[in-house]
Amino acid sequence: MKYIVSIFLSGLLTYAVGIYGDLPWWSFVITNIIISIALPIKPAQAFTAGALGVGSLWAGLAFGTDMANNHILSTKVAKILPMGGSYLLLIFATASIGALLGGLASLTGSFVRAHKS
């Protein structure tokens, strides 16, 4: 249960701190750390919870934005970065970066209260 809640909270708080354009883009790192301190779960679980929370949020936001935009911008950015103009690859890259960082943040938090086994 804590695992599911962690995922959900991670996504929710990432979204919430992202609304404020003046806050840095990586603010979710802090919220993910706090979540996994507040709801201690195993480090491996914490990692996947943080990764799923941020990753799925970023994937969803990017995908929704991209659909509404008819891939106009993503196709261009995927040529600049370069990803052969593939918007899918760009959405995947976006989600991956969010997931990796989100996961690492939660993992870090999980070690604060984890006991030596």
Binding site: I80, T94, L104, T108, F111, A114
Partner: protein
């Protein structure tokens, strides 16, 4: 607590945040901050505009004097209806910022030498060049002059500035324009100075070629000697069809510039050549910067009312230089293309008349050689004594590095462009100061302000009389039936060849002897032939009492083509004028092809060469998309030019100025035994034009065969026209467009240059206007309106422009959105 894993994990997390938060170097370019850039709530995804975005808005701004409405049509063109003129300019600034903020920032950064600040030390050479040219100095002088002498223009530019800043102030960081995120910097407040910097850039773009050409001319003359130079770079153009028809009688000039007695030896170097030392500029405006405009009188149109056409040829960029809009207030109602960065409409029409511009091409930029007393540059020799310079400090901020301070010695002539601090390997310590009319403060923005409000011919004359730089050919057509064209600007009264080369600057003997009074500038109203036109050719024939400048600044053939067509057209409609603007007939090739054929020895050609020549001779003389003959013609002509004068120019260590095509063509038409034709490198034989032309064809064939292999013989594939994003990023540009045209063609579309705004205005009671530019109203690469007009532009199609009263526009089915601007919440 598990300390070690915690520390390890914290370090990895921090390192990743850090890495994703800096600009990594990928090759030579800097990547955006990846984490920020990809974050869906902060980065580029926020710029992915909904394709059915709603542009309705309600905006409160205390700066306004009253409430006003903006209706936006289906092409995203705003129509401003305001009760107060200043409010209209406030909203114009707001809308320019809303749709074009990044380009406004970027273009004024280029103009003011501030690219290094955002892009690093790589941009220092270009920044230093613009600083030393006096771009900031000129803008500051204009600002000071307007603030002191012109409260009306000050209020206009202030209102515009306030509008831009009102937009910037409410902008959420997450909504910054895409390119700010890509290049990782933020917009700063707009200032009136930025508006003047933008206009300085237009002066540079349209008159600044002299900064390079004067050096190249000097180098070429020194390399060839004056006599040979004067043959290859003759100012005489046999086939000139000037803007003011030949045979026009000019009044006695009020200034008779006198050539100094020592000019032949001290300046033209006719007598003995001096030591060969050269300088060149890192960058120059495009040679093809120019334009067409014309107006036909009612006597030549089907409706009996005049029609005006204007298409300025400039660099083709995204976001476009132009932004379309309508501004309606109780004092005027105007529609046309505006410059994001400046108030008012620049090329357009109002409910009484229409106007357009082409570049005058007159030389208003000169170099003077300076002798400094020592390396401190505190004193220079002038009129027989050491005279003190003043020093102007320009601080260039450099991203990730130290500031660079440019200390510019200001002389009697102007800023010192080249000296010991700003040289290249070949300059040998030459000190050159710049004199340029763009550096004399101007109130040019008032010309457009007044044209927007002009009711008749007299208003037009009054408005353009204030125009100083860059010199333009202002064309006019009014509802009441007048047509006119006038070349206007601050033009130097020159003696023959004055300022074509670097001038001696140690005394006043080579100084400008006056500015030609406005009423002596070339102009014509309602001529008998029923039309007026200009296409950057010389404005007058040789009977005009002033020297216009070196002929290389005046392309010949587009003007011939325009006049040839207009002369034989009657019962003209707006559609006919659109067809003429997009006409691809090659009037140069029409003369040059038979001239070439006269000299080509077909029997001596290889079979491939024969095939290419046949392709050229079978061509219909139109530079159309699929034509192969034009590609053959162009490559053959270039190759023949190279064969004829490549030998004369080949020994030089730096690029010299290439002679104009008409010089060779005029000779080919006249004379088979032209001494220049001889290859001076072959001492034992004398080549004539026949040998050289045939040789040229063979050389061209090699290139043409290579092109054929790549499947690039078709004109559009060869030319590969593109509309380039201002950062030159291909992904943000429109590449390889299937469009015809080219140099010497009315449809002057070259590789990255061409008709940047096409407009045709029929002066009927309800104005019937058409136009478009190769771009879109939104500067956002993530918007469907980013490049909306490009395809139509490529196809030579036009949009009917919506120019209506507020009541009618509100009801138009093409009106999509409504923005309300309110003075306060109440």
């Amino acid at each position: 607590m598990r300390l070690l894993p915690l520390i390890a994990s914290a370090i990895v997390t921090t390192a990743l945040v850090f890495t994703l938060n800096i600009q990594l170097k990928i090759g030579n370019a800097k990547a955006p901050r990846l984490g920020y850039f990809l974050s869906p709530q902060h980065g580029f995804w926020k710029n992915a505009e909904k394709i059915d975005a709603n542009f309705d808005a309600s905006i409160v701004a205390n700066e306004l004097q009253g409430n006003l409405d903006v209706y936006i049509d289906d092409r995203l063109v705003p129509h401003i209806y305001a009760d107060h003129d200043q409010d209209a300019y406030f909203v114009q600034g707001y809308l320019h910022a809303k749709f074009r903020l990044w380009q406004m920032d970027f273009e004024t950064r280029i103009a003011s030498g501030r690219l290094s600040e955002i892009a690093g030390a790589d941009k220092l050479p270009i920044d230093r060049m613009f600083r030393r040219l006096g771009m900031v100095y000129g803008a500051e002088k204009t600002e000071a002059n307007i603030n002191e002498t012109n409260p009306k223009m000050k209020a206009t530019v202030d209102a515009y500035t306030a509008g831009v800043n009102a937009y910037i102030k409410q902008l959420d960081p997450a909504d910054l324009p895409f390119e700010f995120k890509l290049m990782n910097y933020a917009p700063e407040d707009w200032t009136p100075k930025k508006t003047y910097l933008f206009l300085m850039f237009m002066s540079y773009d349209l008159t600044g070629r002299s900064a390079s050409v004067d050096l190249q001319m000097t180098n070429t003359r020194d390399y060839l000697g004056y006599d040979l130079f004067d043959k290859l770079y003759t100012n005489h153009q046999d086939s000139l069809d000037p803007i003011i028809p030949k045979g026009t009688v000019y009044e006695k000039p009020s200034i008779v510039p006198v050539k100094p007695l020592n000019a032949d030896s001290a300046y033209l170097h006719k007598v003995n050549s001096v030591a060969f030392n050269t300088v060149y500029m890192p960058e120059a405006p495009d040679k093809n910067n120019g334009s067409n405009n014309w107006a036909v009188a009612g006597s030549k149109t089907k409706s009996g009312r005049p029609i005006l056409s204007s298409d300025p040829h400039l660099g083709l960029n995204l976001p476009s230089l132009w932004y379309e809009m309508q501004i309606t207030t109780p004092t005027h109602s105007t529609y046309g293309a505006s410059f994001p960065g400046s108030p008012a409409v620049i090329i357009g029409f109002n409910d009484s008349l229409a106007w357009g511009v082409t570049n005058a091409g007159r030389d208003v930029f000169d170099y003077y050689e300076i002798k400094f007393k020592d390396t401190t540059e505190n004193e220079y020799w002038f009129n027989g004594a050491w005279k003190a310079t003043t020093k102007r400090k320009e601080v260039i901020k450099v991203k990730d590095s130290f500031d660079v301070v440019e200390e510019i010695a200001m002389t009697h002539w102007g800023p010192t462009m080249f000296d010991a601090h700003y040289q290249n390997t070949q300059s040998n310590g030459r000190n050159l100061a710049v004199q340029w009319t763009a550096l004399n403060s101007s109130t040019g923005v008032e010309t457009f302000y007044l044209l927007n409000r002009a009711k008749n011919y007299d208003d037009y004359l009054q408005a353009i009389s204030l125009w100083t730089c860059p010199g333009q050919n202002f064309v006019l057509a009014t509802k009441s039936g007048d047509i006119a064209i006038k070349q206007q600007g601050s033009f130097v009264a020159r003696w023959e060849r004055q300022g074509d080369f670097i001038m001696p600057g140690e005394d006043t003997s080579f100084q400008w002897q006056g500015i030609i009074p406005t009423n002596e500038n070339p102009m014509i109203k309602k001529p008998e032939r029923g039309f007026v036109s200009s296409a950057n050719q010389k404005s007058t024939d040789a009977s005009y009492p002033y020297y216009l400048g070196a002929a290389s600044a005046f392309p010949l053939y587009r003007g011939i083509s325009v006049n040839m067509h207009l002369n034989k057209m009657f019962q003209i409609t707006a559609e006919d004028m659109q067809k003429l603007q997009t006409d691809n007939y090659n009037v140069f090739a029409a003369t040059a092809r038979p001239a070439l054929m006269k000299y080509i020895q077909l029997d001596n050609l290889s079979s491939d060469a024969k095939r290419m020549v046949t392709e050229m001779t079978n061509w219909d003389l139109y530079n159309s998309v699929n034509a192969k003959g034009i590609t053959c013609f162009k490559i053959i002509w270039d190759s023949v030019e190279q064969a004829v004068w490549g030998d004369e120019l080949v020994g030089s260590a730096i690029p010299l100025l290439k002679p104009e095509a008409y010089v060779l063509l005029d000779q080919m038409l006249k004379d088979t035994n032209w001494s220049i034709a001889d290859d001076i490198r072959t001492k034992d034989k004398v080549e004539d034009l026949k040998t050289q032309v045939t040789l040229g064809v063979e050389k061209a064939t090699e290139k043409l065969l290579a092109l054929e292999k790549e499947n690039k013989l078709e004109w559009a594939l060869f030319k590969a026209t593109r509309v380039l994003h201002l950062t030159k990023t291909p992904a943000l540009s429109r590449m390889d467009l299937p469009i015809g045209g080219g140099v010497n063609i009315i449809n002057a579309t070259t590789e990255n240059h061409g008709p940047s705004w096409r407009m045709v205005v029929h002066l009927t009671d309800e104005i019937e206007a058409y136009g478009l530019y190769p771009g879109g109203q939104s500067g956002n690469p993530g918007s469907p309106y980013y490049d909306t007009f490009v395809n139509y532009w490529v196809e030579g199609k036009y949009y009917r422009l919506l120019f209506l009263s507020k009541e009618k526009l509100k009801q138009s089915e093409r009106t999509k959105w409504h923005m309300q601007f309110q003075k306060s919440n109440s």
